[in-house]
């Protein structure tokens, strides 16, 4: 059983933090991941910055562009993940766009993930149908989890398909929108969370996108196995004092 599966079996109200590798500084991830682990974060989505992040709002577009300017690339990314693995055993997921995986060579990429101690992947623009027809066979050769996204406009029938392909957790996108929205939850969103909670799925569910406060974190935990926070965290760690800011942020969310 993977560390991630153990976590889902044994714990509730999980907190997952997304960070952009190479942001705000080239080597920030090396210190941030162990620090977040020590402060009660349950697992990490280590985002490989991409030149054209379609599903992301301004905050992650910005952190991605800074990270690329800081010299983050896949070779360095995997090297840093390996180094982090000596310091903490917190589950780490790769988050990036499909073109990055494709260009590297899918098999080599998955092998690298495996060798670096990555537990699972989130690739938002890899569509379930195309995955099923062209890539599932290759992914199955590796002992890695894969998460797919569902949104407020995903039908129950489609959620069933996505659940059948998912091998990590279902990423429940809280809104019909890009990352980093800061509005309060609407009645429509709450109704959606309730619908999702009722659905019996094989995989655990994590809610993400637009979660930026302790109160929103508490709310989503009543409907799912945990919450994923990205943009709000990235915003909080924008300066030189990013380590302290990261700790403060997690404390505030968990308060």
């Amino acid at each position: 059983m993977s560390r991630l599966q153990k976590l889902f079996n044994n714990k509730q109200n999980l907190l997952s933090i997304y960070l952009t590798a190479g942001y705000p500084q080239r080597n920030a991830m090396l210190e941030l991941i162990p620090l977040l682990a020590k402060n009660g974060v349950d697992f990490i989505e280590a985002g490989m910055p991409y030149s054209d992040p379609l599903a992301d709002g301004k905050t992650i577009q910005h952190s991605s562009s800074i990270a690329l300017k800081n010299g983050m690339n896949l070779e360095l990314y995997f090297k840093q993940i390996k180094q982090v693995r000596y310091k903490t055993d917190i589950p780490i997921l790769f988050m990036g766009y499909f073109n990055q995986v494709l260009k590297y060579g899918i098999e080599s990429f998955l092998q690298q993930c495996s060798d670096s101690g990555i537990e699972a992947l989130i690739i938002p623009d890899l569509t379930p149908e195309i995955y099923q027809k062209y890539y599932q066979k290759i992914f199955k050769k590796y002992d890695l989890g894969l998460s797919f996204l569902i949104t407020p406009t995903t039908s129950d029938e489609r959620i069933a398909l996505i659940d059948s392909l998912t091998t990590a957790f279902i990423y429940v996108v809280s809104i019909s929108g890009t990352t980093g929205k800061t509005d309060d939850f609407s009645a429509k969103q709450i109704a959606y969370f309730k619908r999702i909670k009722k659905l019996t799925t094989r995989n655990p569910k994590m809610i993400g996108f637009g979660i930026d406060t302790a109160s929103k974190y508490r709310i989503v935990n009543t409907y799912a196995d945990g919450a994923i926070i990205g943009s709000a965290f990235i915003k909080a760690i924008s300066d030189n004092d990013y380590k302290q800011k990261a700790v403060d942020f997690v404390r505030k969310i968990k308060s």
Binding site: L68, F98, N99, K103, D125, L149, T151, T153, V173, S176
Partner: protein, 393 residues
């Protein structure tokens, strides 16, 4: 037809739909409905009437005598530059906005590079009374100011794309994000044969009127309904897709695709995706793509804003890889010279995009009496500043 898409939207290895789940419902809705709606009599009647009475179709197929004399072939120009708004782009925007209306959408978004697709979209939005937002790279807004003014006069809001290279690629990213954020009322009118399935196929169908007319015009003027060669420029590739469409299965017709060589293929400053690109995903489809070893998309360069794109339509990637089309590149300087030459020989100032297609005439050998059609995709009014700044006139 050999060169159509399969169920998931692939032309051979290229195409498909690589989109975040956030776009799934909208794209699936379009996939399910586009053919059903386009093939109705009601749609076709309105579409054909507008192409005739509003766009001014059929566009002439003009036998360019002096150009023919120079190259020793029978050269015809397909005059898409004479369309309303000055380019082929409007064939597609009329089709898509009629589709949008029938799908009950009330808000139109689009991306634009040179501004021709933006103007064509703002035009049909005005025509139908729909709200319209155009995304345009900040850099392109500066180099295509007349088109920005036209879009605003037509009532569209022009939003600058300020990320990345601030050109067409980034404008497209912003338009896609807008669509993600407005999933209910918005229709995204893509301007080229790019994007997730069904866009490449849908846009090619709307542009296919170009080759449909060519067949009839060639038959009337030459007694044969197909040419020996068709030459078209390719950025995303919509004018080429339209010009090739009905000739794709006729192997007697040589298809010559001209890409923007910028400062030269090896200069690191070009937009010659077919030559320099490798398999990758951009804007929702698998195609050829200019990228680095990590799959980061490389900023392209061309003097022509309409060709300044790091990808290429998946149909074209397929045509290139199967050898159905021959690729040629024209540099900035070659395109400028070809534009000036057409102006002086025939009295037609071509768009810089189309000038790239014309530049290929210098690179090809012709048999006497060979019938060659150059798709003159747009007129050069928008490029006057660039021509004047680069030619000693």
């Amino acid at each position: 037809m050999k060169y159509t898409t399969d169920k998931l939207g692939f032309y051979g290895n290229y195409g498909g739909s690589f989109i975040p789940e956030l776009l799934h419902r909208n794209v699936a809705e379009l996939q399910k409905n586009y053919l059903k709606i386009i093939e109705t009599k009601d749609f076709q009647t309105e579409f054909q009437n507008l192409l005739r009475d509003y766009v001014g179709r059929p566009s002439p197929l003009y036998p360019a005598k002096r150009l023919s004399q120079k190259y020793g072939a029978k050269i015809y120009l397909k005059r898409e530059d004479l369309n309303h708004t000055g380019a082929h782009k409007i064939n597609n925007t009329i089709g898509q906005i009629l589709l949008a209306k029938r799908m009950g959408k009330t808000r139109i978004i689009a991306e634009t590079g040179a501004g021709q697709h933006g103007v064509a979209t703002a035009t049909v939005a005005a025509l139908t009374g729909l709200q319209c937002v155009i995304y345009m790279g900040e850099k392109d807004m500066a180099r295509q100011t007349p088109n920005v003014a036209r879009m605003r006069m037509l009532g569209a809001e022009v939003r600058p794309a300020t990320s990345g290279s601030k050109t067409l690629k980034d404008a497209t990213n912003e338009a896609i994000r807008d669509w993600i954020n407005n999933p209910d009322d918005t229709f995204y009118i893509i301007g080229s044969v790019v994007g997730p399935h069904p866009y490449p196929d849908m846009v090619a169908r709307f542009q296919s009127v170009i080759s449909e007319e060519m067949q009839m015009q060639l038959a009337a003027q030459t007694g044969r309904e197909y040419p020996d060669k068709i030459i078209a420029c390719i950025g995303g590739g919509s004018n080429a897709a339209g010009a090739y469409y009905y000739f794709l299965d006729n192997e007697k017709v040589e298809l010559i695709s001209v890409e923007a060589g910028g400062l030269g293929i090896d200069s690191g400053h070009s937009a010659a995706t077919g030559v320099l690109g490798s398999n990758g995903v951009i804007h929702g489809s698998m195609t050829l793509l200019m990228q680095d070893k990590d799959g980061q998309i490389v900023e392209p360069y061309s003097i022509s804003a309409g060709l300044d794109y790091p990808g290429i339509g998946p149909l074209h990637a397929h045509l290139i890889k199967t050898g159905r089309t021959r690729l040629v590149t024209a540099t900035d300087q070659q395109a400028l010279a070809a534009g000036l030459q057409l102006t002086r020989l025939e009295g037609i100032i071509p768009a810089l995009e189309s000038a790239h297609a014309l530049a290929a005439l210098d690179m090809l050998n012709f048999k006497p009496d060979e019938i060659v059609v150059v798709n003159l995709s747009g007129r050069g009014d928008k490029d006057m500043d660039t021509y004047l700044n680069n030619l000693s006139l």
